[in-house]
């Protein structure tokens, strides 16, 4: 198959019972084989919902429009059996908190060989166990044989996240969805897990959707980055380009408010205000209320246009000029 592994086009998702604004509003997203695509945004911007939509896992009360295809299968309209097979064979997900995703009463080995256990065939189980051993080794755990017999509480958070990654790889997925896989971990552990994910992705040629709220992390991991705000992808660009020359004021604001370990300045340029709640549904641009480039008569009235140039796109009526050196954004001149 030559098309992208994951393709979302104009996906809308509404939760009429809890939200006044759409939770996802026209999300476009593609992940190709061998590509790492980042999804960045603040809490509540819809990153997890997007990833779950790719698996066809939606809240029961959700109203969905648009197309989501994984490996050519339309997740939203295909028969349930096809979607289930997809989840078993083509896509896998790694979550933020490894402890939340594993039954604390069961051994690591049982967790990993769970689906083979369901078929009930001895041969499948043996094959699964062999594969689990191989993968525990591949994710860099020191003693795979022993880990199979251990319980989750006997492992540290970082080691457990490695187990979860091994579990995600059991079905040899072509697409890996990582939802903040390192947020609960220390920086050093985070660096290890990120390096591991990168290596596995390269070795196996997987497509990867990497969700994080840390722009620096996304830029160090991903090939391309989508920036989300209030359920919309407001900017999409190659990682370095996005970082060096953000075009959406929100992206620029995020960069400016991210503390940098190098670089000068003693003051961060914060974005004023707070992220849009689910109960607010402003007309015009969702970022207008916090934007320093807002044009009242335009931004507060019309939905912003998507400006695209083939490589990157930005959803803004007044995007930043293509050349704004990054250091000028990050710090204010202290006069």
């Amino acid at each position: 198959m030559s098309g992208p592994l994951l393709e979302m086009s104009d996906v809308w998702l509404r939760l009429p019972e809890v939200a006044r604004r759409p939770v996802l509003a026209g999300v476009d997203l593609q992940v190709g084989a061998g590509e790492i695509v980042g999804l960045v945004g603040e809490s509540g911007s819809g990153k997890s919902v997007t990833a779950r939509a790719a698996l066809g896992l939606l809240p029961p009360t959700a109203e969905v429009e648009g197309r989501v295809t994984v490996d050519g299968v339309d997740v939203l309209s295909a028969p349930a059996a096809d979607v289930r097979r997809l989840r078993a064979e083509s896509v896998a997900m790694v979550f933020q908190d490894p402890r939340a995703g594993i039954n604390p009463m069961r051994r690591i080995g049982d967790h990993l060989t769970e689906s083979a256990r369901l078929t009930g065939r001895r041969r499948d189980l043996d094959a699964a166990r062999a594969r689990a051993l191989e993968l525990l080794d591949a994710v860099g755990l020191p003693d795979p044989r022993r880990h199979l017999r251990q319980y989750p509480h006997e492992l540290s958070g970082g080691m457990l996240q490695r187990v979860m990654i091994a579990g995600a790889l059991m079905g040899s997925p072509r697409l890996l969805l990582c939802d903040e896989p390192t947020t609960a971990l220390d920086v050093t552990t985070q660096a290890e897990i990120v390096a591991l994910l990168g290596r596995l992705q390269r070795e196996r040629g997987m497509g990867m959707l990497f969700i994080t709220h840390d722009l620096d992390l996304a830029a160090s991991v991903c090939d391309r980055i989508h920036v989300m705000y209030a359920g919309r992808v407001v900017e999409q660009a190659p990682a370095l380009g996005l970082f060096e020359q953000p075009r959406h004021p929100y992206t620029a604001g995020l960069l400016a408010s991210t503390p940098a370990i190098d670089g000068g300045g003693t003051r961060l340029r914060a974005i004023p205000g707070v992220p849009l709640s689910l109960l607010e549904d402003p007309s015009g641009c969702v970022f207008a209320a916090r934007c320093d480039r807002v044009l009242d008569e335009v931004c507060r009235v019309l939905a912003p246009p998507v400006v695209a140039d083939g490589v990157r796109s930005v959803r803004c009526a007044r995007p930043l000029e293509a050349r704004t050196p990054r250091h000028a954004l990050r710090t204010e001149c202290v006069s």
């Binding site: 220390d186 503390p259 914060a270």
Partner: protein
């Protein structure tokens, strides 16, 4: 020469839990000059929170002393006078703004409780003092009437800061106080803290696992690991020329755009001493 604002000497704490003992803090020293700010960084379980809790008297140290303006702070204050004096020396802001406010008390009233406990202002004087404190952290009369659950995370953390400032402490301890916030809001709170330090001269002990955040607030930084201070010094120097291997490891692990991290899987893992408990 007069005594420094805060002086911490050889603070130690060991926990015993069914048989095994954990030395959470193994002798921390630190000195904070008048109006100064010091950062404490380190991985999970390195003893940062335990240090903070000992500073504010929530935990009794096994050994060591905490002095504010040369006055030794009692580990466990008894009686109203001792408690109030202890409170005015050091206040704390916790990590989770969702849990650190009483869910039943409107935020204005929460600040008012602290003002009432520590001053003898009349009702109307208190009202204006509460409003002044809330304004200082960027909140208004409208928010004052709301229960914590009606506020955003950033707003709640502002309330927690206002409530701590209501006591007019000499030193404010912030234990991962911006870690749970979104970056855009985190930046607002960091700027707010810098402003408050400038305006009130309160000393800051700023605890974080994020080296980059510490750089914006703290002139000096301590790096902790397994209960010990492994390196200390001016923050800029520490980030530019780290001396201790652990500081270097921490720095090299910070993600930087366009540069895939070099910390490799297997080796780094086996090289790490204590696996982070509870994470």
């Amino acid at each position: 020469m007069s005594a420094p604002l805060l002086e911490v000497q050889h603070l130690r704490k060991t926990y015993r839990t069914h048989g095994s003992t954990v030395t959470a803090v193994a002798g921390v020293d630190l000195t904070l000059p008048e109006g100064g700010s010091v950062g404490i960084v380190g991985e999970s379980g390195s003893g940062k929170s335990t240090t903070a809790r000992m500073l504010v008297g929530l935990e009794a140290p096994d050994a060591g002393r905490v002095l504010v303006h040369g006055q030794e702070q009692v580990a466990q204050p008894r009686g109203r006078r001792e408690r109030l004096a202890r409170a005015r020396a050091l206040q704390i802001v916790f990590q989770d703004p969702y849990l650190s406010l009483d869910p039943r008390v409107p935020v204005g009233a929460a600040v008012d409780q602290a003002v009432r406990l520590h001053t003898r202002l009349t009702r109307s004087e208190r009202r204006s003092r509460v409003l002044e404190l809330l304004t200082q952290v960027g909140l208004g009369e409208r928010e004052a009437a709301l229960l914590p659950r009606r506020l955003s995370g950033g707003q709640r953390q502002r309330v927690a800061i206002a409530r701590a400032l209501a006591v007019e402490p000499d030193v404010l301890v912030l234990d991962e106080a911006v870690s749970a916030l979104d970056v855009s809001v985190q930046a607002q709170v960091l700027n707010l803290l810098a402003d408050i330090r400038e305006q009130t001269g309160v000393g800051l002990v700023f605890i974080s696992h994020d080296l980059a955040v510490v750089r914006y607030l703290c002139a000096e930084t301590l790096v902790m690991r397994a209960g010990e201070v492994v390196e200390r010094g001016a923050t800029d120097r520490l980030l530019r020329e780290p001396e201790h291997p652990y500081t270097r490891l921490l720095l090299s692990a910070v993600p930087r755009p366009g540069r895939r991290s070099e910390v490799d899987g297997g080796t780094a893992l086996s090289g790490r001493g204590v696996p982070a408990p509870g994470r």
